[in-house]
């Protein structure tokens, strides 16, 4: 009996080791939820500022500084949202790795990070170049597209679902190109809503019982 099962067990062992040594699986769904919440808060403030700016624009008190201020505020907030999302993502992932007795910083997390970061840096520089040319209309579609591509790329090195989130971001980014002017809504949907839905789904699937 034992002899019969041995080859099967060995194959299962091999599969398990291959899986564990090539993918980083400690990503936490909670990171997705918090990142999404930060994005929505950011989008709310941005909406408010843009709304106020519009009112001033149509009034007598409008000055050239107003536009500079708005741009600066939006940029600072974007960086703050990104930082908050990253820190919370790292924190919950670190917590989960510790909880499940897995390494947080090993060759799988390094490889995941490199594959995530290359499309993101390329996209970030591309968007800065667009802003340099005063081409702001495609900033949100480009954000969503490059982020989606980064996720699809990173999906090979972590939980498979990350790739599906990437596909959705790409589709959303492409749809946005046909609805220029609604960027903020698409941004809130892509970085806020999708993250929260994805985070809840992942938490439900992998972490609930732990």
């Amino acid at each position: 009996m034992n002899e019969q099962n041995q080859p099967l067990e060995t194959i299962q062992d091999i599969k398990r080791i291959m899986e564990r040594s090539s993918r980083f699986i400690s990503l936490s769904g909670l990171s997705g939820i918090t990142a999404g919440v930060f994005a929505l808060i950011g989008a709310y403030f941005a909406y408010d500022w843009i709304y106020e700016y519009d009112i001033r624009f149509n009034s007598q008190r409008f000055t050239v500084n107003d536009f500079q201020n708005l741009k600066m505020n939006l940029l600072v907030m974007a960086v703050a949202v990104l930082a908050a999302a990253l820190i919370s993502a790292l924190y919950f992932t670190w917590l989960r790795a510790r909880h499940t007795h897995r390494q947080f910083w090993d060759h799988t997390s390094k490889r995941l990070l490199i594959n995530l970061i290359i499309p993101l840096i390329a996209g970030g520089l591309f968007i800065l170049a667009m802003l340099q040319q005063d081409e702001w209309r495609f900033v949100v579609p480009a954000c969503l597209l490059f982020y989606g591509l980064a996720l699809v790329n990173a999906g090979k090195f972590t939980l498979n679902e990350v790739r599906y989130l990437g596909y959705l971001e790409i589709v959303l980014g492409l749809i946005n190109t046909q609805y220029i002017g609604y960027g903020l809504y698409f941004w809130a949907a892509g970085f806020g809503l999708l993250h929260i839905v994805y985070g809840v789904f992942m938490w439900w699937k992998y972490e609930r019982k732990v």
């Binding site: 062992d13 091999i14 080791i17 291959m18 040594s21 090539s22 060759h107």
Partner: protein
């Protein structure tokens, strides 16, 4: 009829050697400490098995430095890849034979 068990490679009988081969099949290159962490074995134990795999020509060793620390990385040779693939095929055949 040929007994499929003959196709099994004795070298992969050992769980640690089997583990090293599995990891190297999906990771082009990996260093000693990462291997140690993943297989949860002691330095001496892992080193012995790695040496065995190297002597059999299944694993290549590359010694390098990261700063002042030595960094030894391991990767599969062509022969190692073939031997391990054959081993898995044999295991699969045995399972099919039972069913």
């Amino acid at each position: 009829m040929k007994n499929p068990i003959n196709g099994l490679n004795k070298i992969f009988d050992n769980r640690i050697r089997l583990g090293v081969m599995s990891i190297l099949m999906v990771n082009e290159e990996i260093n000693f400490n990462d291997l140690k962490q993943m297989l949860e074995v002691t330095d001496g134990n892992l080193a012995t098995h790695l040496m065995n795999l190297e002597d059999n020509g299944y694993v290549k060793v590359k010694k390098g430095f990261i700063g002042k620390k030595t960094n030894t990385t391991y990767s599969l040779t062509k022969a190692g890849e073939k031997a391990f693939t054959d081993h898995i095929l044999t295991l699969e055949n045995i399972i099919r034979g039972i069913k």
